[in-house]
């Protein structure tokens, strides 16, 4: 790719940062070139972010309807899934799924609670309460 063909699409996913692309000058010599984004790349990144966001939103609905414990929501809100949380806590996936149940959730031992709070990077209070979701709820 030529230097002048390096996309400069100011992608939202770059958050104002620049990435390095290796591209050639007119004489064919490779140089590091800054890129402010590529539309194609931005599309797939935002698609992945939106997918995670959709999961978090669905989990929030479950929570509001009293169908699940806050754990499911916090898991998705931290951009994790069952497999990820299972690996990060060392618990089995079925154990975590059990804790999505409101009644089971109230009976989790303090030790397991701390596994969750560490993996998700939130406090015990945050884990046990229903958070308020901001503008991204639309």
């Amino acid at each position: 790719m030529k230097k002048e063909d390096v996309p400069q699409d100011n992608s939202r996913s770059y958050g104002g940062h620049k990435k390095i692309i290796y591209a050639t000058t007119s004489s064919g010599k490779y140089e590091k070139t800054n890129s402010s984004g590529w539309e194609a790349e931005e599309f797939v990144t935002l698609m992945a972010v939106n997918e995670l966001e959709t999961q978090a939103r669905a989990a929030y609905k479950h929570l509001q309807n009293g169908e699940t414990s806050p754990l499911e929501y916090h898991m998705y809100n931290s951009r994790m899934d069952l497999l990820g949380l299972s690996q990060a806590t060392g618990l089995f996936q079925w154990q975590i799924k059990r804790h999505f149940n409101l009644i089971n959730f109230t009976n989790i031992s303090p030790k397991t609670i701390s596994l969750y709070t560490q993996a998700l990077g939130i406090t015990k209070m945050e884990l046990q309460t229903t958070p308020t979701r901001g503008s991204s709820d639309e």
Binding site: M1, Y14, K19, K32, N34, V44, T45, E51, Q87, A119
Partner: protein
Amino acid sequence: MNKFQHQHTAHCETGVMSSMLDYHGVQISEPMALGLSSSIAFAYLPFIKLNGLPLIAYRMPPRSVIKGLKKRLKLNLDYERFTDPKKGMIALDKQLDAGNIVGLQTSVYWLPYFPDDMRFHFNAHNLLVYAKKNNTYLISDPVFEKPVSCSTDELQKARFSRGALAPKGMMYFIDKPPKPVNYTKLIPLSIKSSARSLTAPIPIIGIRGIRFLANKLARLDRTMPDKKQQILFLGHIIRMQEEIGTGGAGFRYMYASFLQESATLMNNKLLEDASNMMTDVGDHWRNFALHTVKMCKNRSHYDLRELSKLLHKCASEELKVWKLLKKI
């Protein structure tokens, strides 16, 4: 104060090693770090899942740049891992106090300076710590333009995050000044090694891996009937190719740059031709990405067979380069 110079690079691991060697008096560019460690690759690994999608890698597994350079350049490079986070932080401080710079493996998600849209649970990010000032670590993260900083708590969290590829506080540093690099010996050696692994007779690795994925795309309608799932899968391929700091086209441009630098160092025409061919290969990969995204956006032109063909084209063009490089 030390004379450390931050360097903005495309990829984290190659960038860290390039900067670290530079600090210790051996100037090695990022593409050279990729090439000499033979870290370019292709692998389609359906049994390793990231957010439910198979791992598609355009380079060798994490740490292969570090290990490869250690082996080839005979570096006095030490790794340490820790079970106790406190000890891990103390060991880091000790190296910094001694005036050394330290490479760390961390999670991306817990680093506070990452833009929100780039924060994913990926545990094999690399960065360099070059100093500590009042409980704040001064960090040279090679994928950022300027140096950044991080508090002790945040850095500890990032170093000791758990899960797939957990870093376990992995830190690495160079003890003794490295010897000058013998390019005429190492360049052919490392290129041959890459050419071998890219043309290996294993169905999911190298050129055969690319063909495997291309064939999978052609019959995706049968194996993954859900359209939405298909689109997520296609997007995932492109993300692995472009977003994860590859310098464009899944490291192919960076490798072409390495071949060009090698051609000059060794005054070798074959390498120059191979570099030009690899640039074309990179253009094919970018073309594949562009078409894939177009189809994801505009479903009316959605044609998986077409994508499969484009990917087969990448494979056949790349095979030509590796066959040529075997002759070096």
